[in-house]
């Protein structure tokens, strides 16, 4: 993981890094609790992802704006208070928009406060970078987090309930794998995704090595 210490030039990479190379869930293994807990259906996963992205974006921007004012000794406490403020806003907003969703997500909306992705971004990125770079980077990280949640949510909903976003996909006689929407399913599906990514990465590394070997022979 690269942590730029100087101010970074904004580029496409600032955004894309969060999606793949430094994906908070699949690569850095941060913020796993909400990922596992609310990914039992695609709609919950999407709502959680968007809520987290909002908090991430707002808190990182504020941290970035205040980065010269916050004393070093109390910075973590300051970040947490900033994050908690935005989470309270999201908590009340979701409650007002959709009570059904609020009940489905339960305490996990308030638990966004302790999502390590957000504190990690504030500490490692927003406290050192200008506002523009921070906004783009947080959007990328948020998108990466949401996509990861959706990856889990869709697989778990399709296998565990035979539907996607509430629409039934299979014929009547489909026997859903109930275990997939229960807690163990979360671990299994995330483990499965990590296996798939590992396999892909190893295969690519091997191919690269073979290619290098071939060019070395050629010259």
């Amino acid at each position: 993981m690269s942590l730029p210490n100087q101010e970074e030039q904004v580029s496409m990479d600032t955004f894309l890094r969060g999606l793949w190379e430094e994906n908070p869930v699949f690569v850095m293994l941060l913020g796993m609790c909400p990922v596992l807990a609310v990914s039992n259906s695609a709609i919950n996963a999407l709502a959680m992802g968007l809520a987290t992205t909002f908090v991430l974006l707002c808190s990182s921007s504020l941290v970035s704006l205040l980065r010269k004012l916050i004393p070093k000794q109390v910075r973590i406490a300051t970040y947490i208070v900033i994050i908690a403020t935005f989470v309270t806003i999201v908590d009340y907003a979701i409650q007002a928009i959709s009570l059904e969703l609020y009940n489905a997500l339960g305490a996990f909306i308030q638990l966004i406060v302790v999502n390590c992705v957000i504190l990690g971004r504030a500490e490692a990125y927003a406290s050192k970078q200008r506002l523009g770079a921070t906004v783009i980077n947080s959007l990328g990280m948020g998108a990466g987090f949401t996509i990861a949640l959706l990856c889990l949510g869709t697989v778990r909903e399709i296998l565990g309930a035979g539907s996607l976003f509430g629409y039934s996909l299979f014929a009547e006689n489909f026997q859903p794998w109930v275990v997939m929407i229960l807690p163990p399913g979360g671990f299994f599906v995330l483990g499965g995704w990590l296996l798939a990514f590992n396999w892909y990465r190893q295969r690519r590394a091997r191919k690269l090595l073979e290619q290098q070997g071939a060019t070395a022979h050629g010259s």
Partner: protein
Amino acid sequence: MAADSLIFIFLNAAVINNFVLALFLGICPFLGVSAKRETAWNMGLAVMFVMLVSSISAYGINWLLERFEIEFLRLICYIAVIASAVQLVEMAMKKFSPALFRALGIFLPLITTNCAILGVALFQTFREYNFLQCLAFSLGAGVGFTLALLLMAGLRERLELASVPSVSQGAALTLMLAGLLSLAFMGFAGLGGQHA
């Protein structure tokens, strides 16, 4: 067992709705510090202590906030108290056991962002437990967390000796194991708790 008896609350938090394996709270330290049994045990104790302190403080804070009808500040107050409690544990540990302090490393300050601890504070508020029930709940949650951590550490120590395909090494395998453990813990649901 009555649903509000202390023993039931304790068992419910410890095994039936285990914080790590059924509610997915505190996954980061669960995956991070479960490589060795000794560190797992110490981490468990530290978390248990912080949980107890923050649960008691959260009870007091909630009582105060409700008196002045400013419940919207609840989250901010809770997290501030937890952060101070963690600081306290950190200082105590640095003084009395520097070796342990180094072994836990970054995961000690990260107890602040351990959702299990904020989870205890939030759940006890939602369920409107009284003071004794809060104590039973936080102790149960702490015991459950330590139990899950120890079981996982035991499994992972065994795995060190096994040969696994290179593609599944690391986090993927740990997650699969956690899934199996969680599946096993679902058996406790028969003790009488409905699945939350």
